[in-house]
């Protein structure tokens, strides 16, 4: 039976943020059935297969390489049929060359097992693929050989493991459809040599799985056993791949057939201005960051630098501003925090949010269409609320984005710095933003300077800001990052949390003070109380990178044994925000609460319009906003279709539960002998039965 292979997110929430997603329906209870009334067990072929299975196969849990689609094609992996191959260990390019030149055993197929970081472009190009496992282009580029590799397995203990998501410049052409090409090319050229950046957007016509840490020993043992047997002395260990992806061709085709879902999720926006109104005449300041990241194996996505650092910095900014000695509601300008998801996939979150704010969607409250919300503000398109229409796009005075700020990409210089990127350095509004940042960072550990300070105008790096400037290029906008002209190494699991915390805190500190000044039309120094809480930054960094079940998160809702969570956005699902947006919603909702009521255990204890956050009913203008490619459209029946292939159209294929199972194979000659013996044995059995039937019929006269 086919199924969507996405792992179910289970959050035992004490409150539901006004959504319908987090509380499972009650499980109906049934009266117990007396054992005596149960039918006697029957022994059938299925039972025999189940009994014998553990003696034949050893299952391995794996993280799959999942197929994604856009308007022009597919990326990721595909395995059209269940494939089996002898395990072969590759530890270096030399091993691979030796393997290819040896030719292997005639007629046999192989599955390569290698470490996670070994799949460089060079190794990949050295792989010989059989024609039925490659695209036509790959056939031409590979050397004909007798060796057939069916798939690849990665072992997890790679010391060079890192996220591939550090470079948003790798957003594919169709997805990154807007502006600032020069800067992107620079970034791309600098990061293309990284082990994984080139691979996560490639189409692989073979399964590629990564063994989960619980059973790596078995995989390595099996492979090493084959090594000891010189890959020629049977029996040898083999694996069977199961990594079938339903989706094919492109997003339009896949959505039409119903075999994929839009990549996306829910963005979060929040403002302390509870009275925000479209026509109130107040300028709006946007503080922005991305929430998601990307890697080859989606479940392993860990974007410590890009996305987590900017996201945490934004929370720290909101926290700092919430301590303002002057109430934010009395400011002459609104401050809106926006956290966008699916930014790694065509900037889907920011593009859709800005598109909706710039031109509010036409609401058609028709009957009979699919919209799962209890009381939607608009039934088509299905929207839970229309509070985003209270944001006046023309009133946006400035946009501040916190990009990669954990200092992993910072150039080595006497003083660590952050860089302010602008689209147009000659724009007076941009100069004012820069001046504010320079002023507030003066005398601090981390300086802030213009990225174009060296005389090279690189425009903007890939960022959420671009969605705003695409609609109105004259908006003053700054992207604050730790890189000037190129992305350096992304942080991996072994990052220094103390150093990263200090860097994120410094970026948040400067941004909070600059925004505080601008929101009041001031240029002088902001008060000390408007400063980032580095303790909060450190806690969030730990929660979002190593242990989501940390005490800071559990103060908002019950969750246990979550551990490290993926930063991949996953697929869009009505009202299901995912773990990171859910946390961000609660944090921002708590920070921007305009009213705090009584105690609550869940949202049902609060009045309509309130949210139950940290066991207290609060009123906050914090909302989710749909995030999926602007090239996609929600249909009346709840499905999606492509309406503009030049914009973001990323979708994820439906896939069967992927996996590997290890078993022992004997030599092909023996397999043939086994087959022949089996046929002969069957024929003899049939003959014996017929003979016995006739004999008994003749002698006993029973026939």
């Amino acid at each position: 039976m086919s199924m969507r292979g996405r792992k179910t997110r289970v959050v035992q929430s004490r409150e539901c943020d006004g959504a319908v997603y987090c509380r499972p329906p009650p499980v109906p209870s049934f009266p117990p059935i007396p054992i005596s009334s149960l039918p006697l067990p029957e022994v059938n072929a299925q039972d025999i297969a189940t009994t014998l299975y553990p003696y034949i196969y050893k299952d391995l849990s794996t993280w799959p390489c999942v197929r994604l689609l856009n308007a022009t094609g597919t990326i990721g992996c595909q395995s059209l049929s269940s494939a089996t191959g002898i395990l072969y260990t590759v530890q270096s390019q030399t091993d691979l060359d030796s393997f290819v030149s040896s030719g292997g055993i005639s007629g046999e197929k192989y599955a390569v097992i290698m470490y996670y970081g070994l799949m460089t472009r060079c190794v990949y190009n050295g792989f010989p693929y059989a024609s039925r496992h490659t695209s036509s282009d790959q056939i031409k580029s590979t050397t004909p050989t007798t060796v057939e590799i069916l798939g690849t397995i990665s072992a997890p203990s790679n010391p060079r493991r890192r996220s591939a998501a550090s470079s948003p410049s790798l957003t594919p052409p169709r997805a990154r459809s807007h502006g600032r090409r020069a800067h992107r090319r620079t970034l791309h050229a600098q990061t293309a040599s990284s082990a994984w950046h080139w691979l996560d957007l490639r189409q692989l016509q073979f399964p590629y799985l990564r063994v989960e840490p619980d059973r790596p020993a078995l995989a390595r043992y099996a492979a090493n056993s084959n090594t000891n047997q010189s890959y020629t002395n049977y029996p040898l260990n083999a694996v069977e791949f199961n990594a079938f992806m339903f989706g094919a061709v492109d997003t339009a085709t896949c959505l039409r057939r119903g075999w994929c879902s839009p990549v996306g999720g829910l963005s979060v926006y929040s403002t302390p201005s509870a009275s925000l109104a479209h026509g109130d005449g107040k300028p709006v300041i946007i503080v922005s960051a991305a929430m998601d990241s990307r890697s080859f194996f989606h479940d392993l996505t860990l974007g410590i630098e890009n996305d987590v650092s900017g996201m945490i910095a934004l929370i720290a900014v909101a926290d700092a501003l919430s301590k303002s000695p002057v109430a934010l509601t009395t400011f002459p300008k609104h401050i809106i925090y926006t956290l966008f998801t699916a930014e790694a996939w065509g900037h889907a979150g920011s593009q859709r949010f800005v598109s909706d704010v710039y031109q509010n969607p036409t609401c058609a409250n028709t009957t009979g269409n699919y919209c799962p919300y209890t009381a939607p503000a608009c039934s088509y398109p299905c929207l839970r609320d229309l509070d985003f229409t209270r944001i006046n796009f023309d009133a946006i005075e400035s946009v501040w984005e916190l990009n990669s700020v954990a200092q992993s990409s910072a150039p080595s210089s006497p003083q660590p710095s952050f860089f302010a990127h602008f689209d147009d350095t000659t724009l007076p509004g941009n100069n004012r933003l820069l001046q504010l940042l320079v002023n507030v960072s003066g005398g601090q550990q981390y300086a802030i300077q213009a990225a174009a300070a060296d005389g090279v105008d690189r425009k903007l790096p890939p960022s959420t800001v671009q969605a705003f400037l695409q609609k109105k290029r004259s908006i003053p906008a700054v992207v604050i990052s730790d890189f000037q002209k190129q992305l350096g190494n992304d942080l991996d699991d072994a990052f220094d949390p103390t150093a990263a915390t200090a860097a994120i805190c410094a970026a948040a500190n400067a941004t909070a003070r600059a925004v505080w000044l601008q929101a009041q039309g001031l240029t002088s120094v902001s008060p000390v109380s408007v400063g980032a809480n580095c303790t909060l930054v450190g806690m969030l960094l730990g929660c979002l990178t190593t242990n989501y079940s940390c005490p800071y998160v559990t103060q908002f809702y019950n969750i246990s044994n979550a551990g490290r969570i993926t930063h991949y956005t996953s697929v869009y699902s009505y009202g299901n925000p995912g773990l990171i947006p859910l946390l961000m919603f609660n944090i921002l909702g708590n920070l921007t609460a305009s009213h705090r009521g009584g105690k609550c255990a869940n949202i049902r204890d609060c009045d309509p319009g309130e949210h139950c956050i940290t066991q207290q009913c609060v009123t906050t203008l914090t909302r989710y906003h749909d995030a999926y490619g602007t090239g996609l459209q929600m249909n009346l029946d709840g499905t999606f279709s492509v309406v503009d292939p030049t914009k973001g159209t990323w979708a994820e294929s439906v896939w069967d539960q992927s996996g590997l199972r290890v078993f022992v194979v004997i030599a092909r000659n023996f397999q043939i002998v086994e087959l022949v013996v089996g046929i002969v044995w069957t024929a003899l059995s049939v003959g014996l039965v017929i003979y016995a039937q006739r004999f008994l019929g003749k002698t006993l006269k029973v026939a």
């Binding site: 086919s2 595909q78 059209l80 079938f244 992806m245 339903f246 989706g247 094919a248 061709v249 339009a252 085709t253 039409r256 057939r257 075999w259």
Partner: protein, 98 residues
């Protein structure tokens, strides 16, 4: 059904005509059966002269259908993906993953 050998020549011709005209109702197998079933009757001495004509025309019709269907099959199999939504609409079971 009576044996062909026991049928009168006029009856055989009548059957051949009916099956020939019936084949135009998009029934190429009827033409093929017409030819294969009645062709031995053309060897009889009293076989009507027109019988062979109808049977050969039935054979030609079935071969024409074979060519048409084979060509369509080849085109459909190879061009299904390229034809996009139109091909999906006329496909009973759409193959997954390709």
């Amino acid at each position: 059904m009576p044996s062909i050998d026991k049928l009168a020549p006029t009856e055989i011709l009548s059957i051949a005509k009916k099956m020939f005209w019936g084949g135009f109702a998009f029934l190429p197998f009827l033409w093929l059966v017409n030819f294969m079933y009645l062709w031995p009757a053309t060897k009889r001495a009293d076989a009507p002269p027109e019988l062979k004509k109808y049977l050969l025309m039935s054979l030609a019709g079935s071969i024409t259908w074979l060519i048409i269907l084979s060509t369509w099959f080849g085109l459909f199999v190879n061009m299904r993906v390229a034809w996009g939504a139109a091909a999906d609409m006329i496909t009973v079971v759409i193959p997954k993953g390709v």
